[in-house]
Amino acid sequence: MPLAELMSQIQELPKIDKLRLMQFLATELVKEENANFFVANQEYPVWSPYNCSEAANVLMNLVATKQKEKNG
């Protein structure tokens, strides 16, 4: 069905159906986008140094020491 014809039919819909249609279209658009989330065989590196509490402590102590030195 051509879009112009479809749109004239949509204009005749009651308000509640127009709202349902909006919701439907929004869901369809999200589905299309989700299809792009991953590309087969592409590499997705994760560099995050996760759960490195010890390293985090070292850095926090170092920055505190430097600030103490700076403030005399």
Binding site: N36, W47, S48, E54, A55, A56
Partner: protein, 140 residues
Amino acid sequence: MVDPQRFPYKIIDSTLGMVDRMPYLPLTLSLDGQSLNTEGLLDTGASVNVLPYELGTQLGLIWETETLSVVLAGNLARFEARAVVVDAQVSSFPRVNLAFAWTRATDVPLILGQANFFFEFEVCFFRARSEFEISPKQGG
């Protein structure tokens, strides 16, 4: 009270629609008179800030003289890292000291993680709008 600054997500690959955008924050790093305009990936899952090797050398850091070792996890686990502190300026906010794990890895983004970037700045992500907002910590 400093006004928060809003930044757009950076498009990494425009062929992938809305998906491949990342929150990269422009900032200036400086150390002993050397300055470097760069950008850091805001990574709330990272325990620490990470400075790629080449950015460290551009700031004048010398690997052999930085002796405080830190151990990293994930993809960075196989690379040595040293703890360093550099000055950082974000937008027109006051300068802060940022501590980094300076890694030997080169093919890695500058990562802004919990220690100590997220202790210094308040960040709010609006992913659906592809924007984030940042302001210095309160009372800082």
